[in-house]
Symmetry: C2
Subunit: 196 residues, 2 copies
């Protein structure tokens, strides 16, 4: 594979491709549509990505990177008590979905359900994303334990995983109902229960 000639083209392919994948799914998005959306010749796709799967791994990395950059600081905000940070964090993520009118879902969840059966690389990337996501939450939960906000007997790793799973299921329901109500319910009943 030749070295990418133009980082702008690469970025555009990733951006337009992520849009398409979010809207119609990965399996239904062809390389031709991605290059057409980015306004570049079809053949150039393979100057930047070895395969559509390699592209999916990069799209996931970009998506997770931007989520972590936008909302990760909420979990590390030392001015705020740790459990409140967790609430603020999920409120931020819910707001992200609201701005997309609950129509797109979470690219991590979408890829998890659609792409893992066919791509070992995407699955491996998702395992990493899940681990990083869990660790960011578990760090904050451990701070909550240190400050006696959370029982020291709680397994923070398992709790972090449960928070993510519940949230991803909530995103799914919000997408079906095209409504923010599932997020309200998550914040009002599920979070307090899991964090008690």
């Amino acid at each position: 594979m030749p070295r990418p000639a133009n980082p702008d083209t690469r970025a555009k392919l990733l951006e337009k491709g992520a849009d398409l994948v979010s809207r119609v799914g990965f399996n239904a998005t062809g390389v031709q549509e991605i290059t057409a959306a980015a306004g570049v010749p079809k053949g150039s796709f393979y100057n930047y990505f070895e395969s559509k799967e390699a592209f999916a791994v990069e799209v996931l990395g970009e998506y997770w990177g931007s989520v972590a950059e936008m909302y990760g600081p909420l979990l590390r905000d030392k001015e705020t008590p740790p459990l409140q940070r967790v609430v603020n964090y999920f409120r931020g993520l819910a707001d992200f979905h609201k701005r997309h009118r609950y129509a797109v879902g979470c690219l991590i969840g979408n890829m998890a359900l659609e792409v893992t059966p066919s791509s070992a690389d995407v699955r491996a990337k998702l395992v990493t994303v899940y681990r990083e996501w869990s660790e960011a939450l578990a760090d904050c939960l451990r701070e909550a334990q240190a400050r006696k906000e959370l029982a020291s007997t709680k397994d923070t790793k398992q709790l972090a995983a449960a928070l993510i799973d519940t949230f991803e299921g909530t995103v799914m329901r919000a997408k079906v109902e095209r409504s923010g109500k599932p997020f309200d319910s998550f914040e009002r009943s599920v979070l307090p229960c899991l964090l008690a």
Copy 2:
């Protein structure tokens, strides 16, 4: 649309189509592949279904119907205390995923994430499925309240929704990790917490 001539052909289209949709997703499954898998001429598809979306609605109905038939009785088993029935129910569903080696996911969740953006009919069907699923669980939770197993202050409808959302997120993670560990964690930590 002419009246379906052969119910066996219709059933075979639904069965083979559901397999394909589970494995590669709905958007990437063409009518031609469905008819080829069922061993019938392509044109006959439209004798049985008005459109691919109408087909998706039927596939969902069949899937949900068989899940309800197989596992629903666990929620209504009068010999067992209601909260234990909820545990048995989700254990049954987890076992279903285990038998599929965690590779397929839940067709309800898959369709929720992949198909809702493009099909109002599928979205409407999913709203119905979610409602029926929630009601089946909420009925059992109300029995738990009547028997003082569950605090009468709990909103059973909201709790049922939270159980479903958490479970669907767990299915997602199990698919990524190709492992039953997320289900163990759901049963050991999340369920007791939500049902406390």
